[in-house]
Structure formats: structure tokens, C-alpha cells
């Protein structure tokens, strides 16, 4: 009986060693990554139960960097409220849960945002029959808006700045906003652009709806880790950066093998042919090669999950490389 109880105790309570997170992850044999309970394009289970999406790819990239195996990751679902305590208590090693990087979260909550994997922002969605092409033409429109959120304040600011008026139709949830817009009770629905895109994709006929080009707030979404474990933070940061740099250098999952014999020094450094960058991170020399081989570069992940060819149809916009009109920028790999 005593033995039974101790087995019970061990299986109910998991004891974690107090070493660095990277060592913990290596000893455990898999990464624990916090994701949403389901958000189109960012993290959602596909038909076979595999998690797919931009954030899910971020988790997989870190797993590949550490283990060289994209399957060595356990996805832990978190909600907007449970995500921070889950990370703080060490139940997950990192969060990739479309979380906006703000000063209070970075500083006050004791987390470390290691980068941005999606630049989101508040946008507007209208029926295309409205015949409006810019948000500044929305004078007098009825706007569906979630109460008590920052979007409400952003909206008021935007309309005041442009000297136009609107009528607010307060709603509580995203679904409510969707229904009200589809039923024609409001002319405009405003929330984060990625949310608008999935709302649009869920419409009976998406072509009847239009997401306006104006983005009126900054919502940089990125992976985060616990404050104070810089070694682990570096691993996650450079897993993301490696995907962005690879896009810059034109390395994809298809040509990564050919790139091994490239004559561009940064390509060789990134793929671990030259230098000892893997060693600095306490990872295998080919960690970045494996990420690109098994996941692909940032652009591949973007196009597969949220890009113009997916039902979400989110254009690269701000998320294009800095060389292509966006603001996606990774420090040099040297």
C-alpha cells in the first residue's frame, strides 16, 4: 500500500530539478510549450491531433534546436488568464501564445520577451458593399467594439484624431461581434487584425467582407520565458532569429542541404559549417540547420499558417522583412 501511495504521489506531483531551464528540458527529454486553447493560424490542433500554427511552429523550432527532433514537444493549453501563472510556476518552459509584449508583462510580471514572431494591430472589418476603402471614410458608422479592452480606447483616439464621429455598439465576446456584423447590426467590427482575418474566413462568403488597411495600435506578439534564465532565453531568442535570418539569406527547407556548400559566410555560420555558435548556446552545431530542415524559415511558416494562401489571407505587411517594406529584423549572425 505504501509503495502504491508513493507511485501515486510521484505520478501526481512532478518534481523538477532546480538547474537551468535548458538542462531541465534536456533531462526531461521534451519541451513543454504553452499555447492557446485554439486560435486560427497561431495554434490549433489539426485533424490528426497535431498542433499547427505560427506559435506551434515556434515551439517546434525550439524543440528542434534542443533535441534535433520536431516531435519532442508537449503542447500545454493555456488561456489568457492562466498563461502567466503557468509560466511563472515552471509548468511550461516557454509561452508562444500570441501574447502582446508590453512593459508591465516584461518588467513587472518577471518575464522576458525574446522577440516578436507576429506584429499584430487593431484593424477594421466592413462589408465590402459599404464601398469604403479607408477607415478615415467611416464618419458616422456604427462600430461593434468589445467593452473594457484597450481596443475601445484605441478606437476613440483614432476617430478623435481624424475628426470623425462613430456610434459604438458594445459587445462582450468575439463571437458576439461576428454575429452582429454578419447580421448587419453594425457597419464596422474592430479588433486585432489577425482576429478579424479569422472572423472573415469563418463567414459564409468571405469575399463579401473587407479588412481595411489601417492598423491603429501596436500589438507585437512574441514568445516569452521566465526572467533571469538568460541561457534559456538565448536559446528561444535565437531559434526565432535563425528562422528570420534564414529568410533573409534565402535558405528554405528545400534548399538547406544545398546551402551547406554555399560560399556565403553567414550561411555557413548559421548552418554550423563554420564557427562554434551551437556550442556557445550549448546546443548541437547543426541546431539551426535542423530548424530549417524540419520547420523551415519564417516565411515558410508564415505562408503555411496565416499567409495569403491560407483561409486567413493575412498579407505580410509589417511582418515582411525589413528589406521588403516590413519591420521584421534579426541581429546579425556572427
Amino acid at each position: 500500500m505504501k509503495k502504491l501511495l508513493s507511485i501515486l504521489a510521484v505520478s501526481v506531483f512532478a518534481f523538477a530539478a532546480n538547474a537551468g531551464t535548458l538542462d531541465d528540458v534536456k533531462n526531461r527529454g521534451f519541451l513543454k510549450c504553452g499555447v492557446t486553447t485554439g486560435l486560427a493560424g497561431f495554434a490549433a490542433p489539426d485533424d490528426s491531433g497535431e498542433w499547427a500554427g505560427l506559435d506551434a511552429d515556434m515551439c517546434r523550432a525550439v524543440a528542434v534546436a534542443v533535441f534535433g527532433d520536431r516531435s519532442k514537444v508537449e503542447f500545454i493549453t493555456t488561456t489568457g488568464k492562466s498563461r502567466f501563472p503557468t509560466l511563472a510556476s515552471g509548468e511550461v518552459d516557454m509561452l508562444a501564445r500570441n501574447t502582446t509584449w508590453t512593459i508591465s508583462r516584461d518588467v513587472n510580471l518577471g518575464f522576458e520577451f525574446v522577440g516578436v514572431n507576429f506584429y499584430d494591430g487593431q484593424g477594421f472589418m466592413i462589408p465590402s458593399s459599404l464601398g469604403v476603402s479607408s477607415a478615415t471614410e467611416l464618419d458616422g458608422a456604427t462600430v461593434c467594439i468589445q467593452t473594457g479592452t484597450t481596443t475601445e480606447l484605441n478606437l476613440a483616439d483614432f476617430f478623435r484624431l481624424n475628426g470623425i464621429s462613430y456610434e459604438a455598439l458594445p459587445i462582450e465576446t468575439n463571437d458576439e461581434g461576428k454575429e452582429n456584423l454578419f447580421a448587419g447590426r453594425c457597419d464596422v467590427y474592430t479588433t486585432d487584425a489577425s482576429g478579424l482575418s479569422s472572423t472573415r474566413a469563418a463567414a459564409a462568403d468571405p469575399s463579401k467582407w473587407l479588412v481595411l488597411p489601417e492598423i491603429i495600435s501596436k500589438e507585437p506578439l512574441g514568445p516569452l520565458v521566465r526572467h533571469g534564465d538568460h541561457q534559456w532565453g538565448d536559446v528561444v531568442r535565437w531559434s526565432l532569429n535563425a528562422m528570420i535570418i534564414a529568410e533573409e539569406l534565402g535558405i528554405t527547407s528545400e534548399n538547406v542541404d544545398a546551402s551547406l556548400s554555399s560560399n556565403v559566410p553567414e550561411v555557413l555560420r548559421l548552418l554550423g559549417v563554420e564557427g562554434s555558435y551551437g556550442e556557445m548556446l550549448e546546443l548541437a552545431p547543426d541546431w539551426a540547420y535542423q530548424i530549417l530542415k524540419q520547420i523551415g524559415n519564417y516565411s515558410e511558416s508564415y505562408e503555411a499558417n496565416v499567409g495569403p494562401d491560407t483561409p486567413l489571407e493575412i498579407a505580410r505587411g509589417l511582418n515582411a522583412l525589413w528589406t521588403q517594406g516590413g519591420i521584421l529584423y534579426a541581429p546579425p549572425f556572427r
Binding site: I7, A14, A17, A40, A44, P45, K81, S82, A203, P311
Partner: protein
């Protein structure tokens, strides 16, 4: 000599279907109006719902006979005028709805647990079951077997509870919550009525505190606060934390339901039991509780059904139960926008379970009211 008058038949309008209709549906003009109105609604509604859910619906193939792999192939997306429900989303994701992310190679363990659950519970529910006594022995060890079977250990590959989901999580939460809360509730109810002030105060405090806060608060407490109280480096399993919260919540409600039953027992029963020299526990186990529980059956089933449905709240703490898996399916870009199908299916599954529970309670009430045995075994 008296002629034997043949007994006359009752008027046609009071017997048979016609009589029933007249008595029940058209007894006066208000009833007639209401009946006609309801009939009209049903005529409008039933063909439509049958058409949408069955006749015009896609199951695996759409109207072109092509196997459906994403929403754009659904008849109702291709042809919004005539297409019915697109059940392909349920068909393709049935595994997830039933087992969550449980590894496919290990899923026999879940199925075996379901079968064993039936073997453990059915003899418990029906006292005419053959060899019931032997089966009941199994019922006692079943939770331990199920724990190891589902969780792993003892030579079975461990399956972390993060991978559990769908109906599995709903059933684990519902069954464990109901099964543990019942004895706990009895103890709390007896404790609250106890003459010992410390015990009665503690029980009252516990019940009032738990009943005073919403289940969501308790779930948050279990999920968010509990890890902060545990020593550093010790993590309690997420599902276990939620189970603790659900069980505590349910036991407080169960305690009040049973206390209601206890109060309905006449004082004479207690006095009679005492006068023949029964101890406190003998009195309660043999005389009072069997009667009290019999009275409380409708309420017990009522709170149990309530709990079973409340398990959907665990999505808030990040556990994917049946409803959570449904929402996850809706967030997959392949299936965006098929909300009606998913919610309909989830409601149907919940209805099957809750309806079975309520029918069982009716059966139990009928049996116990007529039988001599009041449930004391």
C-alpha cells in the same frame, strides 16, 4: 324478472386516442389554442431540423461524392441554399472528440477503461444484476485500475494528462467528481448536524465557503494559486488540481442536498433507533441515511447532472474537455465557421449522458417507493 341491461360502452369521446386527445390537449379553448400553436411550431421546425441534420447533411462525402477534407468542400459552403450540416468535421475529428490527444497506440487503454467502467457501474446501479456481490468487489478496485491504465505506470507507458482530452476528460471529471463527492457530502452533512460544536462549525464553514464562491473561482484557485503554495520545484498535475476543485465544490452541494433529506426524517426515527440501543453510526447507517438518501434522490441526480455540465468550465484553466476540443476544431483554419455542427454534436453527447442519468433517477424513485427494501443493504 329483471332484464339484464347490457353495460353500455363509454362515450367515444372519452376513450382511445380521441379521448386522450380531448382530455389532454383540447379540454378547453385555451388548451386547444396552445396545442395548435405548439403543433404548428413542431410542423415548422421538425422537418427543417431533420432535413438539416440528416437528409441534406454531408457525413463523409459531399453531394458530388467527394470525400470532405476541409470546409470549402462542404455542401453547405458550396451551395448555401440547399446544403445541410457538414458532419465531416465530427467524422474526421471523432478520435479527438473522444480521446483528445491520447497516443493512438495506447488508446486501447482508454477503451478498456470505458468497458471496465461499465462493468463496475452497471451492477452498482441495478440490484437485480446476477452475481452482483462479486461485481461490487470489482467496483471498489476499479478506480485504482483505471488510474494506472489511463495514466500509465506498472509497466505501461506513462501518458501525461496534458494529452487527455475530449469526452475522456469530461468523463474522468464527471465520474470522479460525482463518486468522490457523494461520500464526502454525507460526512459533511452529518458533520454539520453534529452535536459536537467544533465539527459542526468546521463543516458549516467549509460548506458555506465553497458554496459561496463560483466553480470558476475554485478552478482558478486550483490552477493558479495552488502552485504558489506548493514547495518550489513541485508541480501538481493540472488535471489532479482541477479534480480537487471539482470534488470539493460538488461535495459542498451534495452535503446540503443530503442535509435536506436528513431534516425530513421525523425525530421519532432517531429516538426509536436510539431506544433499541443503536450507536450513532449504526443509527445513521441503518435507519436514517437510507431514508434520507431515498428522499434526496431527485436532488442528488440534479446536482450530479449540474456538475457533469459544469465540467465544461475547465476550458478556462486550459484543459480541453469535449467542448474545448470542439472549440479547438473551430480554430483550425481547415474548418473555420462550422460552429453549428460542433456545438450540435457536443450538446447531443451531453444530452445522452444527462438524459440517461435523469431516466435512471426516475427508475430508482419508482423502485424504492414500491419496494420494501429501502436501500439499506
Amino acid at each position: 324478472m329483471n332484464e339484464i341491461t347490457e353495460s353500455r360502452k363509454p362515450p367515444v369521446a372519452t376513450t382511445g386516442i380521441l379521448g386522450w386527445l380531448r382530455m389532454n390537449l383540447f379540454s378547453n379553448w385555451i388548451n386547444s389554442l396552445v396545442s395548435l400553436f405548439v403543433l404548428y411550431i413542431l410542423i415548422q421546425f421538425i422537418p427543417w431540423i431533420l432535413n438539416w441534420t440528416i437528409f441534406a447533411a454531408d457525413f463523409k462525402y459531399n453531394f458530388n461524392g467527394v470525400e470532405i477534407t476541409d470546409r470549402t468542400m462542404c455542401s453547405r459552403v458550396l451551395d448555401p441554399e440547399n446544403g445541410g450540416a457538414c458532419w465531416a468535421i465530427i467524422y474526421v475529428r471523432f478520435y479527438q472528440f473522444m480521446y483528445g490527444f491520447y497516443p493512438r497506440d495506447e488508446v486501447w487503454r482508454v477503451n478498456l477503461s470505458y468497458i471496465m467502467l461499465a462493468v463496475a457501474v452497471v451492477p452498482l446501479l441495478f440490484d437485480k444484476f446476477p452475481f452482483r456481490k462479486h461485481f461490487l468487489k470489482f467496483t471498489y478496485v476499479f478506480p485504482v485500475i483505471a488510474f494506472f491504465l489511463l495514466n500509465g505506470g506498472l509497466g505501461l507507458e506513462p501518458v501525461s494528462t496534458n494529452k487527455w482530452g475530449g469526452l475522456l476528460v469530461t468523463l474522468v471529471l464527471g465520474c470522479t467528481g460525482i463518486a468522490l463527492a457523494f461520500p464526502l457530502g454525507i460526512v459533511l452533512a452529518l458533520g454539520r448536524r453534529s452535536n459536537l460544536p467544533v465539527i459542526s462549525m468546521m463543516c458549516t464553514l467549509f460548506i458555506e465557503f465553497i458554496r459561496g464562491v463560483p466553480l470558476i473561482t475554485l478552478l482558478f484557485f486550483g490552477m493558479v494559486m495552488l502552485p504558489l503554495f506548493l514547495p518550489e520545484g513541485v508541480n501538481m498535475d493540472g488535471l489532479a488540481r482541477v479534480l480537487v476543485a471539482v470534488t470539493l465544490f460538488q461535495s459542498a452541494y451534495m452535503a446540503e442536498v443530503i442535509r435536506g433529506g436528513l431534516q425530513a426524517i421525523p425525530q421519532g426515527q432517531y429516538e426509536a433507533a436510539r431506544s433499541i440501543g443503536l450507536s450513532y453510526w449504526q443509527m445513521n447507517m441503518k435507519i436514517v441515511l437510507p431514508q434520507a438518501i431515498r428522499i434526496s434522490i431527485p436532488s442528488i441526480v440534479n446536482t450530479s447532472i449540474g456538475l457533469f455540465k459544469d465540467t465544461t468550465l475547465v476550458i478556462i484553466v486550459g484543459l480541453l474537455d469535449l467542448l474545448g476540443i470542439g472549440r479547438g476544431a473551430l480554430a483550425d483554419t481547415t474548418w473555420l465557421g462550422l460552429a453549428y455542427e460542433v456545438y450540435f454534436f457536443v450538446s447531443l453527447v451531453f444530452f445522452i449522458f444527462t438524459f440517461a442519468m435523469s431516466r435512471y433517477s426516475l427508475y430508482l424513485e419508482k423502485k424504492l417507493k414500491t419496494g420494501i427494501n429501502m436501500g439499506a443493504d
